[in-house]
């Protein structure tokens, strides 16, 4: 090592917490300051009394139940009479109750298009419908800093990459250097695409994820540098996938149409996995085709959430969870058969989030939880060896040379790093099995320090807070569900990965989103991030505004 590298390593030890702290705080402040859209899309005016009912959401329920968005307190109206939903053609009325609904005098059977100026008859009352065609305002909040942050990030990634590459074998230097350059270039490529083509306003999600990916790639280089190109390719696919998912979710009719296909695809992937899968690290969760290999369970994560979500009229007309329950049981059951308990628990938590959001039925959820616990106890009863896997939990150092090996070495590594780390490339956890996947938090906290470790985890917590805060302003129930489920999944998975390796939770061997080595995991993490971004009020409206202006 030259003096230059040596000095840079020490400087980065102090600089990293400052820079990563700045990124995460910027993301948190910028995202959590975002306000939900306060906009009246249309109005319904009671022709008899002249009372005006504002349509504040793109999906609204009408009825006499207190939870309805448009409250019609009349005995002639059902609890939930109808849903008004914005589609590509415009607003559409979906009939859910038994009462008569008519548009312009013509009765509606299942659904009908409601145009500006139409008269809507519900429960014997007539409303005149008018669309507010003013441009959405209040959307363009002051959100600056994306450019500066990305610039700083590029510099940081180049510096850390330079230091990390100094430690790899000579023949791997070109591929690692290429990976770092590609990383920086792809981030600027996305920036230009998002700003110029998609007219996006805030890029906090992306820059947060880029920062994590940057640390992940750099960490992988410090582990020796093999597999960096594969990881880079997965990252690029993930980034493209992110854009595709954002585009795909822009039309909720389209998402509705493909839900069943997604469920079928999920089940087929699991079936293939069970039939053709190969065993790695005790779990049969890999499919290998020639030199190409992937983990179906990672890809199923996004299909699972996608299939579980639905638009409001579907949620309200079909409260029955049975089909989703059967689908979820099939997925979680497959994971058990593969022996991938960590991922099974992640799916279960995601299932609970979706099931509760869909049904709102706390008793049903409690019942499902009870059945699951009972099932787990039964499994433990019949297969007591499963318990042995958790024997070391909380006692890593008592089993330091057998089953507590990985956890105890992780604790030693993070303690050695202290708050500012040992320096990039100076880590020693890399010699332990699964250091770049299951134990990756330990590796990062060892080299970057505990402050950076906690900041990385905070990013997932910020995503979760964002979903909690913005769910109210969601343009569709579909977005609210996908975003909340994805945020919960990412945070829960990060928790399970980190604290499993640190011996606070049982060690299950799941990946840390965006940072662990693993292509399938990278791709699914980006897709889940896109799901959360669908909550952003500015995301689809700006484009609609552009379309609106073009119409004029």
């Amino acid at each position: 090592m030259t003096d230059m590298i040596l000095i840079l390593t020490q400087v980065l030890r102090v600089l990293s917490p400052v820079f990563i702290g700045a990124v995460v705080i910027w993301c948190a402040v910028s995202l959590l300051r975002e306000k939900k859209l306060d906009y009246i899309y249309a109005t319904l005016v009671d022709e008899g009394s002249g009372i005006c009912f504002p349509v504040r959401y793109l999906e609204c329920s009408l009825g006499r139940s207190a939870s309805c968005d448009i409250l019609l307190e009349l005995p002639t109206v059902s609890r939930v009479e109808a849903v008004l939903r914005h589609t590509k053609e415009g607003f559409r009325v979906f009939r859910l109750g038994k009462g008569e609904i008519a548009i312009g005098g013509k009765p509606v059977r299942a659904s009908g298009l409601l145009k500006d100026g139409d008269t809507l008859t519900v429960g014997g009352l007539s409303f005149s419908f008018s669309i507010n065609d003013r441009v959405e305002t209040g959307v363009v909040a002051k959100r600056r800093g994306s450019f500066l942050m990305l610039l700083l990030l590029s510099v940081y990634e180049l510096l850390t990459g330079y230091v990390a590459i100094a430690g790899v074998k000579e023949e791997l230097v070109p591929s690692c250097a290429m990976a770092v350059l590609l990383l920086v270039l792809s981030q600027w490529g996305y920036f230009l695409y998002a700003k110029l083509k998609m007219h996006q306003i805030g890029l906090e999600f992306e820059i947060g994820a880029f920062t994590l990916c940057g640390i992940g790639i750099c960490n992988l280089i410090t582990a020796g540098g093999s597999g960096v190109i594969t990881q880079m390719v997965a990252y690029l696919i993930g980034l493209v996938g992110y854009c595709v998912v954002l585009w795909f979710c822009g039309d909720t009719d389209r998402t509705t149409k493909y839900r069943y296909l997604a469920s079928a695809a999920a089940l087929v992937l699991f079936a293939l996995n069970l039939a053709l899968g190969s065993v790695r690290g005790g779990s049969k969760n890999w499919i290998v085709i020639g030199s190409f290999q992937f983990q179906p369970s990672e890809l199923v994560k996004m299909l699972f959430i996608f299939a579980g979500a639905a638009t409001l009229e579907r949620l309200l007309s079909n409260r029955n969870l049975l089909l989703f329950l059967v689908f979820s049981t099939a997925c979680i059951g497959s994971l058990f058969l593969m022996g991938d308990f960590g991922t099974a628990v992640i799916f279960f938590v995601t299932f609970m989030v979706i099931a509760y959001m869909r049904s709102g039925d706390i008793r049903a959820i409690a019942l499902i939880l009870a059945v699951a616990v009972l099932g787990a106890l039964l499994i433990i009863n019949f297969k007591p060896y499963i318990v042995n896997r958790f024997e070391t939990w909380g006692h890593a150092f008592d089993f330091a040379d057998d089953r507590g090996y990985q956890q105890s070495r992780t604790l030693v590594a993070v303690a050695s790093g202290g708050l500012i780390g040992t320096g990039i490339g100076v880590g020693r956890l890399r010699y332990v099995v699964a250091s770049t996947t299951d134990l990756v938090f330990g590796m990062v906290a060892e080299q970057w320090g505990m402050i950076v470790g906690v900041l990385i985890l905070s990013f997932f917590a910020v995503l979760c807070c964002y979903a909690i805060k913005m769910r109210k302003g969601a343009k569709s129930a579909f977005y609210a569900i996908t975003a909340c489920a994805s945020a919960a999944l990412l945070l829960f998975q990060a928790t399970l990965n980190t604290f499993g390796a640190l011996d606070v939770l049982p060690f299950t061997g799941v990946t840390l989103p965006f940072i662990s080595r693993g292509g399938s995991s990278m791709i699914s993490s980006f897709a889940l991030l896109a799901f959360i971004k669908t909550l952003s009020p500015s995301l689809y409206s700006k484009r609609r505004r552009v379309a609106h202006e073009n119409d004029l």
């Binding site: 020490q10 989030v353 509760y356 105890s408 909690i468």
Partner: protein
């Protein structure tokens, strides 16, 4: 949309789980990180189990026991001292997990939680290493090692006025500069990596009568006026406790000095398991007694659940009783100090760049009431005067108790000898155990005599 926006509690639950785990971990991290880094498998600090680039380890008088360097460093010049202090310092492979170089590893390597194992200049320790000054005395260690010779055993010496652990010797031992080939199943090297003084556990045999006596003094008001009769054998149901010969009629003091099993069996039965257990647990049985970052192996008494002959056996130190030698020395120290033992400690101070930091531990362990301690002193002195003879203790006033613990099978008994010196300039308590050594008073007492003589010289 109102309907669904209310349903987010599952997210709060995940968020709460995350915050809970993070808080739990950060507290553990703040408290335990310096213990985690001292793990011998930590490649940042250790090379082949030995601290790299560490400070030196000195005895209480400043004799170097071990010095550090990038390749692991070296030991004292005297082979005898190297062998005697092997277990207290640690070997070159880190196989001795309780050596000072390991248990004080985070201090030796100057660890702090902010910058981790490396300072801001990127090196461990920088230019100034942290040196350790231990409480042990190399000369007392040497005397103890020589007295034990080729026998397996342990010697623990403790200053009952300060709490310093003056000597912790364990045999078999070897020269860390020239380690021998040791195969796992060779009986000659059985437990060679264990510091028997701090981490060994042995059947206590008759030295446990000190605890039974303390219980009797506490709970049987007229114990000192009682007369006992020994016929050489005392029957309890189908079982019986025996003495080597008929002791005839004897009082309490005499019963202790001749170590009459029949009498102590009767006393144990009269006391009952609960009281015996209570007195033993106050004296530190069944609890961890720490001497810095580590604790002695926990001595065990299980009288509470015992009755009949099992209780009688427990009262004379057989049954399931287990005794740690260093703990025994602390018990004797407590007796000499009026019932309260100073917390034992091994690290006197650390020094780095002329700045020294005390490693002393303050505090006391309340083991006996002062009345009981005073009576026990009297009985222990009587033992020496009337039974063991005071000649071997360099003219010092000594109170002691020997023990010959049956170990079962056709093996020789473990020989025990534990006591204290009543002398302002030499306030030491000691415990000696010789594995399969035979009779306690002669074999272990002889070792104790040499150790006490060395103490007198070293502390003068």
């Amino acid at each position: 949309m109102k309907t669904i926006s209310k349903r987010f509690f599952a997210l709060l639950a995940v968020l709460a789980l995350f915050v809970g785990c993070l808080a739990t971990f950060l507290v553990k991290f703040a408290v335990e990180a310096d213990a985690w880094v001292a793990f011998p498998g930590n490649g940042h600090l250790y090379s082949g189990g030995v601290l790299k680039n560490s400070g030196a380890i000195f005895d209480r008088t400043g004799r170097v026991l071990k010095y550090g360097s990038e390749d692991g460093g070296g030991y004292n010049d005297s082979e005898e001292i190297r062998r005697a202090t092997l277990h207290v310092v640690g070997d070159k492979t880190g196989a001795i997990a309780t050596g000072a170089q390991t248990i004080f590893g985070s201090k030796l390597s100057n660890y702090n939680i902010f910058t981790g194992v490396y300072g801001l200049d990127g090196s461990t320790n920088g230019t100034d290493a942290t040196d350790l000054y231990l409480t042990v005395d190399a000369e007392i260690e040497r005397a103890a090692y020589k007295a034990l010779g080729n026998r397996k055993g342990a010697v623990a010496v403790y200053n009952y006025k300060t709490g310093e652990l003056l000597c912790l010797v364990s045999t078999p031992t070897f020269d860390p500069e020239n380690p021998p080939e040791i195969s796992d199943d060779d009986p000659k090297w059985d437990g060679v990596y264990l510091n028997r003084a701090t981490n060994g556990l042995f059947a206590p045999g008759s030295i446990f009568k000190i605890i039974t006596s303390a219980a009797a003094l506490e709970y049987i008001p007229d114990i000192e006026e009682r007369e006992f009769t020994c016929t050489g054998s005392y029957e309890i149901g189908p079982d019986k406790v025996t003495c080597p010969n008929k002791h005839g009629t004897l009082d309490f003091k005499k019963a202790m000095s001749v170590s009459c099993n029949c009498t102590y069996a009767q006393i144990a039965l009269e006391l009952g398991g609960d009281k015996l257990q209570k007195v033993a647990e106050r004296a530190g049985y069944n609890s961890a007694i720490s001497y810095g970052p580590k604790s002695f192996a926990t001595s065990k008494v299980d009288a509470k659940s015992a009755s009949g002959s099992l209780l009688a056996w427990a009262g004379i130190g057989q049954h399931t009783d287990l005794q740690n030698p260093a703990h025994m020395a602390v018990i004797l120290g407590a007796i000499a100090n009026g019932g309260r033992a100073k917390n034992p400690y091994l690290l006197e101070r650390t020094e780095r760049g002329g700045v020294s930091e005390s490693g002393k531990s303050s505090g006391e362990l309340d083991m006996f009431s002062s009345g009981v301690a005073e009576k026990l002193q009297e009985m222990l002195r009587y033992n020496v005067e009337h039974n063991y003879g005071s000649g071997r203790f360099a003219g010092l006033t000594v109170g002691a108790k020997s023990g010959t613990a049956e170990v079962g099978g056709d093996k020789e008994n473990h020989a025990w000898f534990a006591g204290y010196v009543e002398e302002e300039s030499c306030p030491v308590a000691f415990a000696v155990v010789v594995e399969n050594g035979g009779a306690g008073s002669s074999v272990a007492g002889d070792v104790a005599g040499k150790v006490v003589t060395a103490c007198k010289k070293a502390l003068a």
